[in-house]
Symmetry: C2
Subunit: 198 residues, 2 copies
């Protein structure tokens, strides 16, 4: 089930409405390296403050280097390990917290989020399932891959071809097919003034 458009209140571009965070991944179907690179290329063209481009990705392709993939996979929290058995690619998303001058970059994580969103949307454009997760041990990841202090691991994105939700544990299969939900617009958007609702 790869088609699960957001029940939007207003029409938005189908690439944005159609992207969603699946957990049903196809077994044993590697993601082509050229697709992995296309996902990174989409991230590369994201905007950032002063065009600093503070995003970094450490990419783990199961089919290319299963040992490295397993070391990255081991940093996922148990719940995420449970449904990612068929994940083919893991992208660790890191932010460079410092500018070239060595001062703090206050928008590093915000800019990394923009790049990650481009990556997720490009995955959807290629009909790949992609899911960004904060549930991983950032310190364990840092240690396992000797990440320098200035770079902060923020998230892990898993990617695979879409699979059948029936292969998931029952509770997750249900969640996979439940209506997608978001806060009402009034909770997140305020016009002309801050209002306490949000």
């Amino acid at each position: 089930m790869s088609h699960r458009p957001a029940p939007t209140d207003i029409d938005i571009h189908p690439l944005i409405a159609g992207r969603w965070s699946s957990r049903a991944y196809a077994a044993d179907k590697p993601v082509a390296h050229e697709d992995v690179v296309a996902l990174l290329e989409a991230a590369r063209w994201a905007p950032s403050a002063y065009n600093v481009q503070p995003w970094r990705f450490v990419v783990f392709e199961k089919s290319a280097d299963s040992a490295a993939f397993e070391r990255a996979f081991a940093t996922l929290v148990p719940f995420n390990q449970s449904w990612n058995a068929n994940a083919q690619v893991l992208f660790a998303v890191l932010a460079d917290t410092l500018t070239a001058k060595g001062t703090a970059n206050p928008t590093a994580a915000y800019d990394a989020g923009a790049a990650a969103m481009a990556l997720l949307l490009q995955a959807h454009a290629k009909d790949l399932a992609a899911h960004s997760m904060s549930g991983f041990d950032a310190n364990a990841f840092r240690e396992a891959f000797a990440i320098p202090e200035r770079f902060t691991p923020i998230a892990m994105i898993s990617v695979a071809h879409h699979g059948d939700a029936k292969g998931l544990p029952e509770a997750l299969a249900e969640r996979e097919q439940a209506p997608r939900a978001r806060l009402p617009m009034g909770d997140l958007a305020h016009f002309g003034a801050w209002t306490q609702a949000g």
Copy 2:
């Protein structure tokens, strides 16, 4: 000049390749309120850790409430004020730094960045110019609009219809037409291991 696709190394979706941060805004051409809401709707469907949706937007439409718009505009740094004279809408992007339990949300800014990217892409889908800026006084903004402590103003996004770069000061007009540039892929993507290049 609204068509300025990224010179990508690899083909990516045209919505992502075609989005760019223009500074040439059309004068006196309001952005329809329904378009403003569509941009917010795109942001609304972004992914976030535990679906917490920590993004908030305070939206200023010049044509609807010019006094509020001017108060928000006044928090931009002088350089951004200089080229935003024709901006029609300002979106202040805020992150809710706390979870419902009152603990810190470590991915609030990253998730807000994803939502902002969706907003920028939806603007491009509507052939609107949109530009995310970190150059504003977040404290002044917080004070002017009585933003509660738990919400952090991260960026200001200005939106308008595309205009003519000839209307910009010479240095900016040149920058507007210069080739778009990003770091080479090798600086931002590492495969299987961290390498010092990035």
